[in-house]
Symmetry: C2
C-alpha cells in the first residue's frame, strides 16, 4: 500500500519517522527534524523541508551523511549498492555489466575522488527522468566532477542525495509525475532533430530554418493538433508555430505563452523548449477534461531567439510586436545563403510578416516558463523561482592603453601597466555590482595582446557586461563603473577606448501576473522565491506591448546552459506544469464574466 500525505501528517512522531525510513542513508535525524514541519501540504513541501534540514546542518553532519554512502563499486554494485538504491536501478544503469576496463576506470576514479575530496562519489544513478543513467554517462559524470572545487562538490554530493531521496519518496508514495514524464520525453524527442555537422556528433543544434528546425516545427505542430487538442495550429510567416486553444466565448481574450525552439550550437535540450512543452501539457489536460476557460490560450513556439544562423536575435517574438527588420533578409549565413532565400525555401511568405503584429487589446498578457540557466535555484534546493524582472543590460568592448616596457627595468612607480588598470576596474565592477544585490557585472573578455612574461602590458583588451533588474539601477551602475574607469586611467596615466556593443532595456514583470506565479508556487507548498532573470527571453519582446511575467525552473549541474549538460528533472517539470495550471485556474476565476 503506498503511503499518503494524510497518513504521514496524522502519524505519531515515531510512526512518521518509520514511514520515512531509508530516505537518507543511515541518517534518521534528517526526517526527524523535517517532520517537525508537519503538516505537509504537498510532496514538494516535504522534500523541501528535508533538504532544508540538511542545508542548515553543521558541515560535520553533512559529511557524515555523505560518508554513510558506499563507494561506486562497478561489479560489486549488485551486492553493495552504490547509493543503496534498489538493485533494479543499478541494473537500469547497466553498472552490473561493467567490462574489466570500465571496472578499472571506476576504481581509478574512486581512488582519485577520495583522495581529492575525502568522501565517496555519490550520484543519483536513476537520473533526471528516474529511469536510470547510461553507464557511460555515469563514468563521464564521475570524471567531470573530479575537477569540481571541493566546496562545490560537497554541495553537489548533497544535491544528489536529495535527488535519491526524492526518487525514494516517489516510490514510497507511488507518485508518478505523469505530465513531467510526458514533457521530459517530448524534449528528448525534439532533441533528435539537429543540424548537419552536429547531429553526427550527437550534439544538439537547431538554427533558424534548417531542415532540423523545420522538422521541430512540424513535430510541435503535430503534437499541438494530434495530442493536445489545440483548436487552431499554424506555422506563421517567420516560422513560429502558433497553437490556439479557444476560450468559452469566441470573443474571449487570449493568454499568450511560449518560448523558442531554436538552440545555440551544441546547446541544451531545455532552453526555450520547456516554455513551449509545459503549456502544451496543460492544454492537453484541459482538452482531455473537455474544459474551456473564460479566455483562450495561445501557445507560440518561437522560431528564432538565439541569433545563431543570422544576427537577428528574438526574430520570432520580435515579429509579433512589429520588430522584424527587413534589412535582415539580405544577411547571409556562413554558407552564403540569405535569410530571404532560407525563408523562401521553407515556404514562408515574407509579405505576411507585417500581419503577425498582435493587438494587445486582445490579450490578457504573456507568461513564459524557462529553465533558469543559472545556479541559484539549484544551490538553494528550490525547484521553482518567480522572475521579478528581465535584467536590462549594456555591453562594452574596451581597450586600455598604457606603455609596454621592460618588466625588469621599469620601476613600479614608472609603469603605465594597462593590465593592472583593468585589474583594478575588475575588482571595482565586482564590488559595485554586488552592492546592489541583484545587479551583475562581468569582464568576460580579458587579454593582453601579444603579451610576454617579461614585458609590462602596454595594452589590455576587455569587455564589460552590466545588468540590473531596472534600467535606472543599471544606468546608475554603468555611470559608476565608467566614472571609475576614467578615474583609474587618469590616476595611472593611461588612456582607453570604449565601444558600446549592446543595450537592452529591463523588462520588469507585470505585478499582477507576477503575483499569479507567486500564488501558484505557494499553492504547490513551495516557498516563493523571487529573482531577476539575468538572461534575455522572448518575454522581453512581448513586454513592449503587453504585461508579462516569467517562471524559472531549476537546472541541474549548477544551472549550466548553452551546453549539453543542461538538465532538469521530470519532477521539476511536473511542478512547472502544476504551477502553470494553477495560474490558469487563478486567471479563470479572475476573468469569470
Amino acid at each position: 500500500m503506498p503511503l499518503t500525505l494524510e497518513q504521514l501528517n496524522a502519524a505519531s512522531p515515531a510512526e512518521a519517522l518509520a514511514l520515512l525510513d531509508g530516505l537518507y542513508e543511515h541518517s534518521p535525524w534528517i526526517a526527524e527534524q523535517a517532520l517537525a514541519q508537519r503538516p505537509f501540504r504537498s510532496l514538494a513541501h516535504l522534500k523541501h523541508a528535508l533538504a532544508q534540514v540538511v542545508r542548515t546542518a553543521e558541515l560535520d553532519a553533512q559529511l557524515a551523511l555523505i560518508r554513510a554512502h558506499p563507494e561506486l563499486a562497478g561489479k560489486a554494485m549488485v551486492a553493495n549498492s552504490l547509493t543503496a538504491e534498489s538493485t533494479n536501478e543499478q541494473n537500469k544503469a547497466g553498472l552490473t555489466q561493467c567490462t574489466p576496463e570500465e571496472f578499472e576506470r571506476i576504481q581509478q576514479l574512486n581512488a582519485a575522488y577520495n583522495e581529492r575530496f575525502g568522501f565517496p562519489f555519490i550520484l543519483a544513478v536513476r537520473g533526471p527522468r528516474g529511469t536510470g543513467l547510461p553507464k557511460q554517462e555515469i563514468i563521464d559524470t564521475f570524471a567531470r566532477r573530479l575537477d569540481n572545487h571541493p566546496e562545490f562538490e560537497l554541495a553537489e554530493a548533497l544535491r544528489n542525495i536529495h535527488r535519491i531521496a526524492e526518487i525514494r519518496l516517489g516510490d514510497k508514495f507511488d507518485y508518478v509525475p505523469e505530465l513531467g514524464n510526458l514533457t521530459w520525453d517530448a524534449h528528448e524527442e525534439l532533441a533528435r532533430y539537429s543540424d548537419p555537422g552536429f547531429a553526427e556528433k550527437g550534439q544538439l543544434t537547431v538554427t533558424y530554418l534548417t531542415e532540423a528546425h523545420r522538422e521541430c516545427a512540424e513535430r510541435i505542430r503535430f503534437w499541438m493538433e494530434a495530442s493536445c487538442g489545440f483548436d487552431e495550429v499554424n506555422i506563421d510567416a517567420v516560422g513560429n508555430v502558433v497553437g490556439r486553444y479557444h476560450g468559452k466565448e469566441p470573443t474571449a481574450k487570449y493568454l499568450m505563452t511560449g518560448s523558442h525552439y531554436d538552440t545555440v550550437r551544441n546547446g541544451g535540450k531545455y532552453d526555450g523548449r520547456l516554455g513551449i512543452l509545459v503549456p502544451m501539457a496543460c492544454v492537453r489536460e484541459l482538452h482531455r477534461a473537455g474544459k474551456r476557460l473564460p479566455f483562450g490560450i495561445e501557445v507560440v513556439a518561437f522560431a528564432e531567439e538565439e541569433g545563431q544562423r543570422y544576427k537577428a536575435t528574438f526574430l520570432g517574438s520580435g515579429a509579433l510586436i512589429g520588430h522584424f527588420n527587413p534589412a535582415w533578409l539580405d544577411q547571409k549565413d556562413a554558407d552564403g545563403i540569405t535569410m530571404r532565400a532560407a525563408m523562401h525555401n521553407a515556404g514562408l511568405c515574407i509579405d505576411d510578416i507585417a500581419t503577425l503584429q498582435r493587438d494587445p487589446a486582445q490579450y490578457l498578457g504573456f507568461i513564459e516558463v524557462h529553465i533558469e540557466q543559472g545556479p541559484v535555484l539549484n544551490e538553494l534546493d528550490l525547484p521553482l523561482g518567480v522572475v521579478t524582472s528581465i535584467n536590462g543590460g549594456v555591453r562594452y568592448l574596451c581597450e586600455m592603453i598604457g606603455t609596454a616596457s621592460h618588466a625588469g627595468t621599469t620601476p613600479m612607480d614608472r609603469r603605465r601597466d594597462a593590465a593592472v588598470a583593468v585589474a583594478e576596474l575588475a575588482l571595482y565592477v565586482e564590488q559595485r555590482a554586488a552592492k546592489d544585490g541583484d545587479s551583475v557585472g562581468t569582464i568576460g573578455l580579458l587579454n593582453v595582446p601579444s603579451g610576454s612574461i617579461n614585458v609590462v602590458p602596454g595594452r589590455c583588451l576587455f569587455s564589460l557586461d552590466l545588468r540590473a533588474p531596472t534600467d535606472a539601477q543599471r544606468d546608475a551602475m554603468v555611470t559608476d563603473v565608467l566614472d571609475e574607469l576614467a578615474r583609474i586611467a587618469q590616476r595611472r596615466g593611461l588612456r582607453y577606448t570604449i565601444e558600446e556593443s549592446m543595450r537592452a532595456a529591463a523588462a520588469p514583470s507585470a505585478p499582477a501576473l507576477q503575483r499569479h506565479w507567486e500564488r501558484a508556487v505557494d499553492a504547490l507548498g513551495l516557498p516563493v522565491f523571487r529573482m531577476p532573470s539575468g538572461a534575455g527571453h522572448d518575454a522581453m519582446k512581448l513586454h513592449a506591448i503587453m504585461p508579462q511575467a516569467m517562471l524559472f525552473v531549476r537546472g541541474q549541474n549548477s544551472g549550466i546552459s548553452h551546453n549539453p549538460l543542461e538538465s532538469t528533472t521530470h519532477n521539476d517539470m511536473q511542478l512547472a506544469v502544476d504551477a502553470f495550471t494553477q495560474v490558469l485556474h487563478q486567471l479563470a476565476q479572475e476573468t469569470q464574466p
Copy 2:
C-alpha cells in the same frame, strides 16, 4: 671665440645670463636660476643644473616654456624655425624640401597634436648625433608621439627642449664630443649587418653565428687591431672577440670588460654593443697616447647573450666561467641547423671551449657599460647611473581555474570568476613590489582563453615575473605573492596551477668596483645616481668568479629597448667614455706598484 666654463664661472650674474642667452626659447629664468649653482665643474654639470630648474618648476612655467616654441611648420620652417634652432639644422633635416603631401601631413599632425595636448610639437631635429634627423623620421616621430599620454608627452617635450639646449650649448662652447661621435658612428656601422629576412626590411637582427653575426665579429676584430691598437685580438672557440691591451708588466693582471654583439630580432643598435665600443674608444686613446697602465685591459665582445637562435642565453660570457652546456650543441634552430653545425661552419673549434674558462686570480674584476633599457635615467634627466645589483628573478606560468558561467544569470555571490581572482593578485603584486622600492613584479601574460563577453571567466592564464636586487629580498616577495595567491584562491573557491619557468640569482655589484663608477660619475660633475639593473647582463655570469660592477647610460624614448627606437646620444656616449677613462685612472692609481 667659443665660450669657456672658466669665463662663465667668473662672469657677473648679468654677464653670465647674457652668455647663456638663447639656450631656452624666450625663457631666461631657467639660466638665471641655474647660474646660482656656479661654479660649474663641467658642461655636464651645467646642463644638469639647467634641467633641474625646469624639472622643479611649476607646471605653468613648464607649459609656458613649451608654448614659447613655434609649431613644426613644414615649408614655412625656413623663415619660422621649428624650434628656433638654426636654419642649418632645418636644412639638414630636409624639412625645407617638403613635398605637398608631406606638408599636408605635417599640418594634420600639428592640428591633431595641438588638439590633444594643447601645446606645439617639439622635437630636437638635430637628433641624437647632432647632425639632423631624416625628414621621414621626424614625421614618424610626430605621429608616434601623438599616441603618448599627455603627462608623458609633456615630459617628452621638455626632454627635447633640454636636448636642443644641449646642442646649443655645444655650439656656444664649441664642444665636440669626439669619442662620443666615434662610438656613435661605430654603432651605425655595426648595425649595417643584419640577418636575412630582417636586413631587407631595414631591421636589425644579429643572431648567433649567422653571416651578419660573423661579419660583426670581423668588423670588431678589425677595429680592435687596426684602429684601437690592441696587442692581441682573437675570435675564441664560441665566437667571442677578445682584445687584450697589455699592461706595463707582462705579469700584470687584467681588467675585463665588454658586452654582447648579438641582438634580439628587430632590436636596437646599442643593447650590448655600447659595452664593447666604449672601452674600445678608451683603449684607442691610451694607445694613441702611448700609455700603458699597471694592468692590462681585456675587452670581450660576447658572441651570444640574447638566446634568439638557440635557447642558450649568455653563451658567450658563460663560456668564460665554464658554463658551456654540451647538450646545447644538439639544439636546432628554426631551420633545423644544430648549434654544432653552425659552429663548425663558422670555423669554431668546439674542443677548445673548455679552455676559455678564466682564472679569476689573473683579473682585477669585470666592469660593463650598458644602455639602461629602462626609463629611469631618461625621466630624471641623468645621463649616467651606477648599478648596485643585477636583480635576481623568478618567473612562473600560472592558470587560475574557476567555473565558467552565464554572465547574466550567475549572481555576484555565486561566481567562481578566475579573472577577477587574477585581478586581485595583480593589484597585490603591484603593491608588494612597490613596498620594497626597488623590487619589480609583473603579470605580463594575462588571458581568459576562449572568453566571451557574456560568460564569467572559468579560466585565466597569467604569468608572474618577480625581481629584486638581492635573492633574499626577491624570495621574501615571492613568498608573499604565492601566499596571497593561495589565500585568494582559497577565499574565492578556485584552484590554480603554477610552474616555475626561470630562476636567476641576484648579482650585487662588488662594493669597491661600484665605488669606482661612483667616483667617476662624480668626477664628471654629475650627481651619483644608484640603481639596480632589472635586466640580466653578461656581468651576471662573470659575477660567479670575479667582482663586477656596471654603469648604465641613459636611453632616449623612455629607455625603450629590444626595439628599433632604442637610442642614445653622442653626448651621453662621450660621458660613458669619460667615466670609463676615469675608472681606468682610479684603478691605475690604486694598483701602482
